[in-house]
């Protein structure tokens, strides 16, 4: 299984050329693969017991533009992104590629297939990417043997559901530049979670993919970029984006429906919350409920 570069860049491959790459089971120096996996998924690596040395963990390499998950393929593996990034998309009946979300390090891929046996969404690498593979057949056994893995999986699943809600929230805005602003803030926040800069962003995806995610034409994405740039919120050069003022950008991203006056002097006071997290609105009331014995 030495390097097989023959198939690289060959656009007409009839069958799949992936190969799982063995991950040497954790030498004494570096952390074991299971620990690494748990850490990626946001769990606590210190909970990994010593008997995890023989944990059969492999990861796959996927080149840019290669597809890790094929739409309609039978489900054989669950993946956890180890490095790189991907786009998850659904090919609609007319051939239009609807991007569902972008996946980064630590995210779970392929779980949707448990339900119907086949992959409902595809995953295509936006850059050279590696992903840990968990064989679905062995999953019950693995979860039984390693409770910490089980816990991390539940966490990752929960996070996936939250991500889906994020996507919907981005598309909820009416104005296209507001959608783009939300997308940029979303991306920025996720870069921050990974310890990278929240202000200088390198977009790994093209305008067309962003447009698909946001539900607009790709020309509109271009126009929205220049609109936001001319407004002084950011500087954009091809795929490199620099966000100048996150707070003002958030203000822009807030406007849903009834496009409120650009002036923004309306309530320029204490609005310091970090978008997600702080200050849950206290439920506006108007909820009437009862209880009845069964």
């Amino acid at each position: 299984m030495s390097q097989d570069f023959s198939s690289y860049n060959n656009p007409i491959i009839s069958h799949d050329a992936w190969e799982p790459s063995h991950c040497a089971g954790g030498s004494a120096a570096e952390p074991g693969p299971l620990q690494e996996l748990i850490r990626l998924m946001g769990g606590d690596p210190s909970e990994v017991t010593a008997d995890a040395e023989d944990f059969p963990l492999r990861y796959w390499r996927v080149r840019q533009n290669a597809t890790l998950l094929h739409e309609g393929a039978t489900a054989q593996h669950l993946f956890v992104v180890r490095s790189g990034s991907l786009k998850c998309l659904k090919t609609l009946e007319d051939g239009y590629e609807q991007v569902m979300t972008f996946a980064q390090t630590g995210e779970l891929l392929g779980f949707e297939a448990l339900h119907c046996g086949r992959q409902p969404v595809a995953a295509v690498a936006l850059e050279d990417t590696t992903a840990y593979a968990l064989p679905i057949r062995e999953l019950p056994e693995l979860r039984r043997r390693y409770p910490v893995l089980d816990k991390a999986l539940q966490m990752a699943l929960s996070r996936q559901l939250v991500r889906a809600a994020d996507t919907a929230e981005m598309m909820a805005a009416v104005a296209s530049d507001v959608r783009l602003a939300r997308f940029l803030l979303w991306t920025s926040a996720r870069m921050g979670e990974m310890g990278q800069s929240t202000r200088r962003i390198l977009l790994r995806m093209g305008r067309r993919d962003i447009a698909s995610l946001l539900g607009v034409a790709h020309e509109t994405v271009s126009r929205s970029f220049t609109t936001l740039a001319e407004a002084g919120y950011l500087k954009v050069e091809n795929r490199e984006v620099e966000l100048f003022d996150l707070d003002r950008l958030r203000q822009r991203a807030r406007s849903t429906r009834w496009l409120e006056e650009e002036s923004a002097t309306r309530r320029a006071q204490g609005e310091r919350q970090s978008k997600v997290g702080a200050s849950w609105r206290p439920v506006v009331a108007s909820n009437r409920q009862v209880s009845v014995a069964a």
Copy 2:
């Protein structure tokens, strides 16, 4: 990692008026509550072992317009809808209620909260509704004791992810009547899954909620209804909808982008697939990938 158990975080409503209603632990005549739960979630009730008699399962009653899950509330229970239906929504910063999805019998609610400890989405009953409650605290124990429940939960989670993709697919269409057509087909299919008529539908939600889900103004939903009705696809009377020709409606729902000619005589041959399920497209190729040893 430390969870915030500081009781009810809600400053306005001091306490909630819900009450769990005891579910008598399964008499000999009717199936046990666990069997019922597994069946609802799409699992195999026959796998329920005999020792499940003492399974501590309760369900809650929620009146129409009452909220089962409060946005921002601390996560205490997972719910599985037993009867009725709900809307899941996120209240955005400006007060706009973004509907994420509609939940019906068998669907899982509240799992998103595992990730952040608080509910990111609210769930409001569209009609009088009952839902089984699983205390999150006891969840690990329950999953360990009843593997069949664990399996069903994984299934339900997978299904939730698929549902999220469905929602995005609906919003992907450009034309508003296409969005509405997709929504109606989606609803129709889910009614079919529950053994109800796929042609006569009683919508439990208002136009405003549909509009929010589809990302359009509620007046536009009204207009799209009349458009589809005038085209002969359906008959609508308030919330009662009758779909006349599902196949032609599917054809209408197919058009994404470049609104293709209404003529539809283009490819009117074998297009009999049931939208979801049959005939997975065989992956169009153009994927290049390689493998490298780690």
